[in-house]
Amino acid sequence: MTYGPHTDADRARMRAALGIESVDELFADIPLAQRAGGLDLPPPEPESVLVERLRELAARNRVDLASFLGAGVQVHHAPPVVDQMLLRGEWYTAYTPYQPEVSQGTLQSIYEYESLIAELYDLDVVSASHYDGASASAEAALMACRATDRQRVLVSRGVHPHHRETTATYGSGAGLEVVEIPLEAEGEAAGTTDLSALERLLADGGPVAGILAAQPNVLGLLEPMAALAAAAHAAGALFVAVAEPVSLAVLRPPGAYGADIAAGEGQALGIAPQYGGPYLGILACTDSLVRQLPGRLVGMTRDLDGERAFVMTLQAREQHIRREKAASNICTNQALLALAASVWLAALGPHGLRDVAALGAARAASLEAALAAVGAPRPHRGPYLNEFAIRVPNAREVHHRLLERGILAGIPLADLLPDEPSLADCLLVCATEVTRPEDIDLFASALGEEIGR
């Protein structure tokens, strides 16, 4: 076998110990009518051939374009030290720390992750178990319903559409009513959550369990999170902030504006885009909600000798103990991705993280100025951090023509937000600290030519 150790002699020894002639005898309990006779798949591929096949497939992807694409996944500098640490087999070939005495590495790293994210989000408790920002947002909505014993959730349309759709899917299982809050169409606050529409939704219909809003929102704009939190609390609802983690180096953290729960996509913290995952769902809350928090939690304790050590705790919330009464069916956790996030944050430190966020904001401002100068202004007036919409005639067609010139001009909002027709002629573009000034110039001049056609 390719990676197995057994020689024919080993197998013969095992069969002899079992008193069988053929391994087939070990499968005699499968009903005859249901037995399969092998697999119709290609033959085994030697490693050298496989390597060529994989190289060739990977080379068919185009990752060499000047990219201004964000829309939920932002590319940041990846210090090589992060992946070097992740490649240690002691990390990635271990499993859930069921035997804490020989799992202190994983346990301490999860505790450190919980502490780092709690500090960044200014909340008390963090679970490292979530798949991505979308499923973490959905779990946050379910938490709010359990905590308030209410069944109605309001989700701003400023939340990424994949997060909204996932929340709706999870909500359909749990029998929740998930209602969307529209965005302001015009004025200074255009593109952010419509506060008066929110007031109407709070006044009409059943009591609200939670309100979800994103910071920055899907259009890159800064939301009035303090006002949204106050509106939620006035209605007896919880406030869920879907907050982008890198931005929290410079933006007010969820705990500071009264969020009860925070969710977020952790991919930006040192995790490669990988066409969709695996990513890291950030889920954090205040102390008072800890028993509603799904997923594994690691706490500090002592061993028999009084030495500090770490252990999975509060497991009475979880599926393997509570079964159908568990807070969630979450079983796996994202420990390796949480580790990536921790190493990335520690590799940058507070000043480095601030520089990443601030340089991204500066590059985005350069991008805005360059694009506006060639006739592609922003449709919104409110502040943004490092992602924003631009208005471009024939946005989809221009986007396609720029692709042929080696530029990935963000994403047409007609594709990302088909339910916002007023933004159909817009592109959503993003810059981070790794966006090169020469690519900004290239994008602007090419866009100017396309608009001028």
Binding site: D29, I30, P44, L57, V63, V102, G105, Q319, L336, S342
Partner: protein, 491 residues
């Protein structure tokens, strides 16, 4: 090589010294944030640790060495399939063309990944005997939820909204009943018969017009193939319910039993188990779901579509209105799926069959060695599949030493413990899964260690009861951790 010695490490935060950093990005202009309104700005910086790279590296390398891992030793954790992970799979996932591909990139920029995903779907269809596969779920439990929501949608479309119950054998993983609850369904527990299979009479009594589905793990978490599976499937379909196969134990049946072909309607596959994508201290995984004809219309969107001209694309928004909706962002945990693809290609059809045959042979060999020793109770005789149950019930009655103690004593021998006290129905149970990648020498050494510990339980019970003795920590005070939770560093 075992994890021994007291090498506990300080926390990142305790290593922090003001002013230490490794500069990695250019300094931003001073006015970079002036356009952000003051009320939106953070007060000061988050109190993250400040370290240089050498300290950072030592911290994480030293911490990693406190872990037992497949790369360092035997990990017979039942129901988790802790097999060796071929390094080429890790290498493949890091190829820049795969790793740097943006999930919102237009289809024409990601033809390589889309082709890989499409081919992986075909391979998983063949292995599972299912008609179609979604790669979207991020884990086995996530796949279960996907399946349960599709089952609900199927019954709803037929006007059968009264089907609200899911039958789950009592040996099932806890995720099964937890999933049913998340999907708004009620769990009905079915007891296990003396032979380890489903209790047929209880099963028949519980089935009815309220049954939405039955979730069956086959082979079960007792390592036993459900010999009456043909009858069960017939009974399920006869009352209009659907059959869900928990594929956690797929490693035991590749090429021997194809659940879709046998009549199951839906099944999830834990790629991190069978296809050796790394467990990563608990994750990430991936939980593709295969379905038969009945459920294919409900697969979550977007699916990968192969066009007649041989190019690939993702389904467009609302292209398939029967889809149950999204369960996560983007198309799936592609990085995990690249590893699974590489694994399946390396082994090919014959190699995957050999994986199963060797995994089952190794489990039976180990079981026989323990049975012959007489040191442990072996509750279920006859061939097992890829894992089996041993029990320390007799040892406990005779010596007071429990399975938990034996598990901890194994750590001193350099082995990870089996899964203990699962399934919950077995007194002092241990679920042992050796996988196909452990040599006969390792299997023998592990059996010898277990047998020696059983003798020690009689001769020196206190040594076993106070184990581990050579691990980085002694036993932990779990009660204190839960009573006064300390879940973050506060300096």
């Amino acid at each position: 090589m075992s994890v021994t010695g007291r090498r506990l490490q300080p926390l990142l935060f305790e290593l922090s010294r003001p002013g230490r950093m490794t500069r990695r990005v250019p300094e931003p202009p001073r006015d970079a944030l002036d356009r952000i309104p003051p009320e939106q700005r953070r007060d000061g910086l988050p109190a993250l640790p400040e370290l240089n790279e050498p300290e950072l590296v030592r911290h994480y390398v030293n911490l990693s060495q406190l872990n037992h891992a497949v790369d360092t030793g035997f990990y017979p954790l039942g129901s988790c399939t802790m097999k060796y992970n071929p390094k080429v799979d890790e290498w493949a996932a890091r190829l820049p063309g795969f790793a740097a591909a943006h999930p919102m990139a237009p289809d024409e920029l990601v033809q390589g990944t889309l082709q890989l995903l499409w081919e992986l779907e075909q391979a998983l269809c063949e292995i599972s005997g299912m008609r179609a596969v979604t790669l979207q779920p991020a884990a086995g439990a996530h796949g279960e939820l996907t399946g349960a929501l599709m089952i609900r949608a199927y019954h709803r479309d037929r006007g059968e909204t009264g089907r609200t119950e899911v039958l789950v054998p009592d040996s099932a993983h806890g995720t099964n009943p937890a999933t049913a609850s998340m999907a708004g369904l009620t769990t009905v527990h079915i007891p296990t018969a003396a032979d380890g299979g489903v209790d047929l009479e209880a099963f028949r009594a519980a089935l009815g017009p309220r049954t939405a589905a039955v979730m069956i793990t086959n082979p079960s978490t007792l390592g036993i193939f459900e010999a009456r599976i043909g009858d069960l499937l017939e009974m399920i379909h006869a009352v209009g319910a659907l059959a869900y196969m928990d594929g956690a134990n797929l490693n035991a049946i590749m090429g021997r039993y194809r659940p879709g072909a046998a009549g199951f309607d839906v099944m999830h596959i834990n790629t991190h188990k069978t296809f050796s994508t790394p467990h990563g201290g608990g994750g990430p995984g991936a939980g593709p779901v295969g379905v038969g004809e009945r459920l294919e219309p409900y697969l979550p969107a977007p699916r990968v579509v192969r066009e007649p001209d041989g190019t690939f694309r993702l389904e467009r928004t609302a292209e398939r209105p029967t889809a149950i909706g999204r369960l996560r962002s983007f198309v799936g945990s592609t990085g995990v799926l690249v590893r699974a693809y590489a694994y399946i290609r390396t082994h090919g059809g014959s190699g995957l069959c050999e994986v199963t045959d060797d995994a089952v042979l190794a489990a039976n060999y180990l079981k026989r060695r323990l049975a012959d020793s007489g040191a442990y109770d072996i509750p279920f005789e006859g061939p097992c599949k890829h894992e089996f149950i041993a029990s320390a019930a007799t040892i406990k009655h005779e010596t007071g030493v429990r399975t938990l103690d034996i598990a901890k004593r194994l750590l001193d021998h350099g082995f990870h413990a089996p899964t203990v006290y699962f399934p919950l129905t077995i007194e002092e149970g241990m679920l042992i899964e050796p996988t196909e990648t452990e040599s006969i020498d390792t299997l023998d050494a592990f059996a010898d260690a277990l047998i020696a510990i059983a003798a020690e339980a009689h001769d020196a019970p206190d040594t076993v009861k106070t184990a581990p003795h050579t691990a980085p920590t002694r036993r932990l005070d779990e009660a204190a951790a839960a009573r006064q939770p300390n879940l973050r560093w506060r300096g």
